[in-house]
């Protein structure tokens, strides 16, 4: 149970990464490095060489702000989009409806998606970016005029406003394919095609790879911790099983004396051990799951953080405990039965 907790919470970090930046699954972000004049040439290359049909190519601006995560602030992009592109962007990212309205051309206004609003605890009319905010800087206060109902995380402003107020003054662009498979093909092709060139690509699969790598070490540490924990728990439970079996020995001695075979009793004992452990495991997992759900509701959902309460790896981890207890349990049972004399029980030398 404890282990399911630790693992689920640990997993929630990379899971959150993937949730927060999930929008990038539907496009490839491209920025020229160093030379803003490269942009048209890069666009040209995409138009000519891209192996899958491009649904739309959106030239825009981008700057960064932060969102809150379990492990501190994470950078998040503020896009500056032209009115038509902004409409397209919202639709492409599953916006079902908008509370309020989209930013007016040229004005310091922003629209954020619902998870972002929840994460930053923002309402309509609140200031999203401003001159007094170091992490979310803008020379003029930017007010929220709309909240988009979408599961994806988005912060969008008007292109004209963005050009006037944000650094760097570089045109970037987003390349959208028609669907996720084609997008993935496009992303892989682009990463390969522009290797070594002065371009920076933002592809979802790269993000995924980086995240996984980042957490690989953490997971190794986690594994060591869990293994130690498992060893301790298994040993403890094994000892408990041992005590329990010792008590049952009187019963088994009597049954063996009146004619049960050793094998029958062994099977019975192992069966009981297994049932006890299996029940314990199921109960533990159910309780852990419920507690995770509570934790999610109380602590995480208000900030729109991700947590997979049915995280399969977390529950896979919990399997280690019952299996090792089972192993220790079986071992003790076998050991006890190997040299066991029912006479010592009916003669009352035990107990």
């Amino acid at each position: 149970m404890l282990i399911a907790w630790i693992v689920a919470l640990m997993n929630s970090i990379p899971y959150s990464v993937k949730t927060v930046y999930s929008y990038s699954q539907y496009s490839l972000g491209v920025t020229p490095r160093g030379d803003p004049l490269m942009t048209p040439r890069l666009i040209e290359t995409f138009r000519k060489e891209c192996p899958v049909p491009i649904e739309r190519l959106v030239v825009c601006r981008g700057s960064t702000t932060v969102v809150k995560s379990i492990v501190g602030d994470w950078p998040f992009v503020v896009f500056g989009l032209s009115p038509v592109d902004l409409q397209y962007f919202l639709k492409k990212h599953f916006t079902s409806s908008i509370d309020g309205r989209v930013p007016r051309p040229g004005s310091a206004e922003a629209i954020v998606s619902e998870p972002v609003a929840r994460n930053l605890n923002l309402k309509m009319g609140d200031v999203l970016l401003g001159p007094d905010k170091t992490d979310a800087y803008s020379p003029v206060p930017v007010k929220i005029v709309g909240i988009a109902q979408s599961p994806e995380w988005m912060i969008l402003t008007d292109l004209e406003y963005h050009k006037e107020n944000h650094f760097p003054p570089i045109d970037v662009f987003l390349v959208f394919a028609r669907n996720r498979e084609e997008q993935s093909k496009l992303d892989h092709w682009a990463v390969d095609r522009f290797k070594g060139e002065h371009t920076r690509l933002f592809a979802y699969h790269e993000l995924e790879k980086d995240t996984n790598q980042m957490f690989a070490t953490l997971y190794q540490i986690l594994n060591v911790v869990i293994l130690t924990l498992v060893a301790v728990i298994a040993l403890m439970m094994g000892m408990l099983m041992n005590i329990y079996q010792s008590q049952r020995l009187v019963e088994f001695g009597l049954l063996q004396a009146i004619g049960y075979t050793r094998r029958q009793l062994l099977v019975r004992s192992l069966k009981e051990t297994s049932i006890v452990i299996a029940t314990g495991w199921v109960l533990g997992v159910v309780v852990a799951h419920l507690m995770l759900r509570v934790a999610y509701k109380v602590l995480m959902e208000p900030k729109a953080w991700g947590l997979d309460t049915l995280d399969p790896t977390a529950f896979a981890y919990t399997l280690i405990v019952p299996s090792s207890i089972l192993l220790v349990g079986f071992f003790t049972v076998f050991h006890r039965f190997r040299k066991f004399d029912p006479v010592s029980v009916v003669e009352r030398r035990l107990v």
């Binding site: 049954l255 063996q256 004619g259 049960y260 075979t261 050793r262 009916v346």
Partner: protein, 217 residues
């Protein structure tokens, strides 16, 4: 039916050999009541374990219907104890989580045996208490449940190791009387240090320091 041929049982006691039984040759005949009489520590229990196959002799052999018990597998010996033998031990051991009735047919939990067990308890005067837990029974009542357990399935031999040790004299005599009356065609081998319990025995052998001293045959 059961025959021990020069059977000895040796215990290891701090590197010293202790003969619990020494060179015992004894036969149990079908349907008889055989009493084994001896003082404490004379090896009575040990002899009973040898005869019933719960222990294997260190020297000599114990034959059941001409077959050496030691040559049988654990399974075979278990089957014998289950189907052909009945046991009443010194202490009235019952399983605490079962009722008197369930304890009586724990050796073979089938519905036919259940009816038989109920009938046995009835005849032992426990019909009304068949559904009680062991801790709700007196010592004598518990030992009677054990007697029912031993009698279940009409065994060919019933082994009783001081079945009266935990009871007062009257209760003891009553239990022995019931065992004797209800054993049917089965033989009864009973071990005790109290000669008065063996008044109805067909035959009594004396055991002293693990050795037989024959008389009264």
């Amino acid at each position: 039916m059961i025959e021990s041929v020069g059977a000895s049982l040796v215990y290891e006691d701090h590197g010293r050999e202790v003969f619990a039984c020494r060179d015992v040759s004894l036969s149990v005949r079908p349907g008889e009541f055989l009493g084994i009489l001896g003082p404490s520590g004379s090896g009575k229990s040990s002899l009973l374990y040898l005869l019933s196959g719960l222990k294997t002799p260190s020297f000599g052999a114990v034959l059941y219907d001409e077959r050496d018990l030691a040559s049988m597998s654990d399974e075979e010996r278990s089957r014998l104890r289950r189907r052909e033998f009945g046991f009443v031990f010194q202490q009235p051991y019952l399983l605490g989580y079962l009722t008197a009735l369930e304890n009586a047919f724990v050796g073979e939990p089938t519905s036919a045996r259940r009816d038989e067990a109920l009938d046995l308890l009835d005849r032992l005067g426990l019909g009304a208490k068949a559904h009680r837990q062991p801790h709700e029974l007196s010592g004598g009542e518990r030992q009677r449940v054990c007697v029912a357990r031993a009698l279940l399935g009409e065994p060919r031999v019933i082994f009783a190791d001081e079945p009266t040790a935990s009871l007062d004299h009257t209760n003891g005599l009553q239990v022995v009387g019931m065992l004797n009356a209800m054993r049917g065609d089965g033989a009864l081998v009973m071990v005790t240090h109290d000669p008065s319990m063996l008044e109805r025995a067909d035959r009594v052998v004396n055991l002293v320091d693990g050795q037989l001293v024959r008389h009264g045959e």
